[in-house]
Symmetry: C2
Subunit: 216 residues, 2 copies
Amino acid sequence: MSSPRYSDAERAAIYRVIRERRDMRHFSGGEVAPELLAQLLEAAHQAPSVGLMQPWRFIRITRPALRQQLHSLVEQERLRTAEALGERSAAFMQLKVEGIRDCAELLVAALPEGREAHVFGRRTLPQMDLASLACAIQNLWLAARAEGLGLGWVSLFDPQAVAELLGLPAGAEPVAILCLGPVTAFYDQPMLVEQGWAAPRPLAELVYTDHWGESP
Amino acid sequence: MSSPRYSDAERAAIYRVIRERRDMRHFSGGEVAPELLAQLLEAAHQAPSVGLMQPWRFIRITRPALRQQLHSLVEQERLRTAEALGERSAAFMQLKVEGIRDCAELLVAALPEGREAHVFGRRTLPQMDLASLACAIQNLWLAARAEGLGLGWVSLFDPQAVAELLGLPAGAEPVAILCLGPVTAFYDQPMLVEQGWAAPRPLAELVYTDHWGESP
C-alpha cells in the first residue's frame, strides 16, 4: 500500500474529526438517508477485531413502540444510577444523558453469541471482543461527525432487559444504545465538562515511562 | 460548533484512513519523533469516555530489557494459545502475531485502579471503561496511519504477569501491548485475511432490524 504518510490537508481533516467528535445527547429529529446510514455502518465494519472475529451486531430500531420501551428501560436505570450516586444524585438528575426519543436513528450494538469459539487473542483477555466492538463504534462516531451527524453512546440500561426486548440469543450481550442523527449544534467541549460534572485531566498525568506512576 | 458537515476532501480523508488502517505486525525499526508520539497520544486522549472518567494509562517502554521481557511473556502466551487452538495450532504458529522487537515504540495501555468510584454509565455495564480505552486506541491507530506509522494491538499475554512486570497497583489492568512505528508497507487487507486465517463477513449479515436475526 503506497503513500505512507497522508497529505497535510488529509491529516488536518483526521485530527479535526478526532478533536470535534462529541458524545451527543441533544438531537434535532430529521432523518438519516438509508445510503448514508449504510456508509456509516460500513465505516464501523472496517474496524480492527481480535482474530478477525468481527464481534459487532447492530440492530436498527424502526418501530416507535420499541424505541419507547428502550427509553423506559434507560429511564429506569437513570433513576437507579442517581440513587447509587448518593450525594451527586441531584447533580446527575440535572444532566441530559440520552437523546433516544429525539434522534433520527436508534441502533443497539451487541456482542454476538458463540464468542467462546474465538480463542486467538482472547484466551487470557476474553474481553477483547468488547474492545473490537468499541473500535467499530468509534469509527462510526468519527464518520458521523464528518457527515455533520451526532452520535451518543448510552450505557444506562440493564443488559438483560434489553436482550429480552430484542430477542438476543443466550450468550449475546447488548453494550450500547446508539442515538444518531442531525443536531442543532455540536458541543464545544464534552457536555459533562460544559455542565461541570467532571474536569478533564491533562494527558501528561496519564503517561508513564517503564513503570506505573513514573513520569517521562 | 459551526460547519456541521465537513468538505468532500475532508470526508474523503477520514473514510480513507478508516479503510486503510491495519493491525500491523511487521515493522521496520526506525523511530518516532517525541513530538509526534505526543501528538498521537493526544489524539488518543481526545476519545470519548464513560462519565468522562478517561480510564486510559499509557506506559512507554524505553528499557531494552523490559521490551525483551514483554516479548517473552507474549511468546509464552503464543504457545499456550497454539495449544488451546487444537487442530488450528499449526496454522496459528505460522502467523506473525506481534512486532514487539522490531517496532520503534512500545506502549502498554492499561485501565487504572479505583474504577469502582465511577458509577455513571457503569452501574450495570462496568466494562464500559474498557470500551472507552478501546476508543482511545482506535483514535491512536487512525492518527498513526495518517502519519504513515503502523500500530499493532497485541493481546496475547497474561495480564497478571504484565501487571507485575510494570508495577501496576491492585485494580489496574493491562489490556494492550501496542507496537508503533515505521513499516515497510501496510497490508492491503487485514493480515489474517491475506494469510487465509479468517474470511471477513459482509456487513449485511451483521445488521438486523428491530429484532435479533431479522434482516432489514
